[in-house]
Chain length 287, copies 2
């Protein structure tokens, strides 16, 4: 069986697999795997001798009242999909394995970067993310760790944490996977009603319109004009309740007034459809 519940079992299995002399790729997930996760696992498979996938719905990155309890879970299906996509081992620890009784150590990227975008509406979220990723990296000790660009701010913060703390791992960020109508794949998409599901395609459409506007050169790279394009497009969907939309520097997440050659900008949106909050983003650049 490739499903592993404890750090000690994982250590033992990796030692048996001669982990010290083989490269190890790690894909941390919250499970309910979709094509986005599977693309990370396939990439890890292609680049490493051993691949570990974790499935752990991390309680510390949910605030009270968020969807921790209802977050979709199906470990048997996940395990099958992960193995099929190339995982050697699936690590599925209970919460008390990751956070033993009395745990109170946190890893936090401080400063502005954490307070923007999702950090503004979910102020404790990223502290939970960086803490659990630190813990998982200490348990798995991979050469490479894989994240999706869908969670753009998370990817920026993880890269910063790894750099700041000198964590000996390479962070690989993989492209967003999308449904036929452009909706970014997300485990939370299952919560959408058929009507909301249809409306949700507006996120990608709005980002695409901003990119088209930038390409057409009409906006001259001015960020407020591009943000207006996004807002207007999302406004066409009555069901869409905007949490944020913003264009920031793609690396520092600082505010910018224009997109300039040589620096990528991150256009990021978060929108609620009924009770379900979805995010999407696009990297923008000019020649």
């Amino acid at each position: 069986m490739s499903l592993i519940k404890t750090a000690a079992q994982l250590e033992e299995r990796l030692a048996r697999a001669d982990r010290n002399n083989r490269s190890l790729g790690f894909v941390p997930t919250m499970g309910y795997l979709h094509e986005g996760h599977l693309s990370l696992i396939r990439r890890a498979r292609a680049e490493n001798d051993l691949v570990v996938v974790s499935v752990f719905v991390n309680p510390t990155q949910f605030a009270p009242g968020e969807d921790f309890e209802s977050y979709p879970r199906d470990i048997e299906r996940d395990c099958g999909l992960a193995i099929q996509a190339g995982a050697d081992l699936v690590f599925h620890p209970p919460a008390e394995e990751i956070y033993p009784s009395g745990s109170s150590t946190a890893v936090e990227v401080t400063g502005d970067m954490t307070r923007k975008l999702c950090g503004a509406s979910r102020p404790t979220h990223f502290r939970g993310v960086t803490t659990v990723v630190s813990i998982l990296l200490n348990i798995v000790r991979p050469d490479r760790v894989y994240f999706g660009q869908k969670d753009a701010q998370q990817a920026v913060l993880i890269k910063k944490m790894v750099r700041d703390l000198h964590i000996p791992v390479t962070v690989v960020v993989c492209p967003i996977m999308r449904e036929a109508d452009g909706l970014a794949m997300s485990s939370r998409n299952v919560f959408l009603t058929p009507q909301e599901r249809k409306s949700a395609a507006v996120l990608n459409r709005a980002l695409q319109k901003a990119e088209d506007a930038l390409r057409s050169g009409l906006q001259g790279g001015g960020v407020s004009m591009l943000e207006a394009v996004i807002r207007d497009e999302i406004g066409t969907e009555k069901q869409a309740n905007i949490d944020y939309f913003q264009i920031l520097d793609g690396e520092t997440l600082q505010e910018i007034s224009r997109i300039v050659p040589g620096r990528k900008a991150l256009a990021a949106v978060a929108v609620k459809f009924g009770k379900t909050r979805l995010i999407d983003n696009r990297m923008l650049s000019v020649e």
Copy 2:
């Protein structure tokens, strides 16, 4: 030369030394080595194939107005002493190697434990300590890391951080080394005037009196009586300016009213002599 300035050089030297197939002991210090540090290095030498000592006066564990600037430094002497005591390599990075421009990630043990004793008078100190130790552990990746019991609260917090974050290292805490008159060895002892140096012996004397009182059984293990013994003894020295003295549970640092069989208690004191703040402690237990 065994003096190494960058993480990349250290990595290269450890790779050449076949670090993956040999046990590695690590002694992080702020330099100006004394017998206390040397006892850690000798212990590391006895227990490991390779020994790395770091000398880094960590700016983030000093608050503005504390003695960061004046903290004593002598890297040439330190390097010689470390090698003589058994170090293979001495890692002496500049601050920008540990904290590259824009660094803003912190590792913090949250909760009461960090706010007591030294944490009360130095509220940002331990956040700096746990952050730099995390970074150094990520750079050196030792099997065992050595700390002195002199910094008792630091040792407790490091052990907690290592456990909470699943850092793959064994924390070894070594006994306090003392001068002939019982003064705990400290790099800061050089700041004492001859008169203060003489007075400073009161720290160990006070702790010894508390231990004797406990042994005599007269106090029945009652903590407030033992604390009174400590206060009265320190009070005999006019130059001694008490910052704190307290007896807490030795593992959780929670307040206790009595010392009970099976649990160690930590009697800890901090006293200023002129501008120099010294700490000392003793583990107390009853049968």
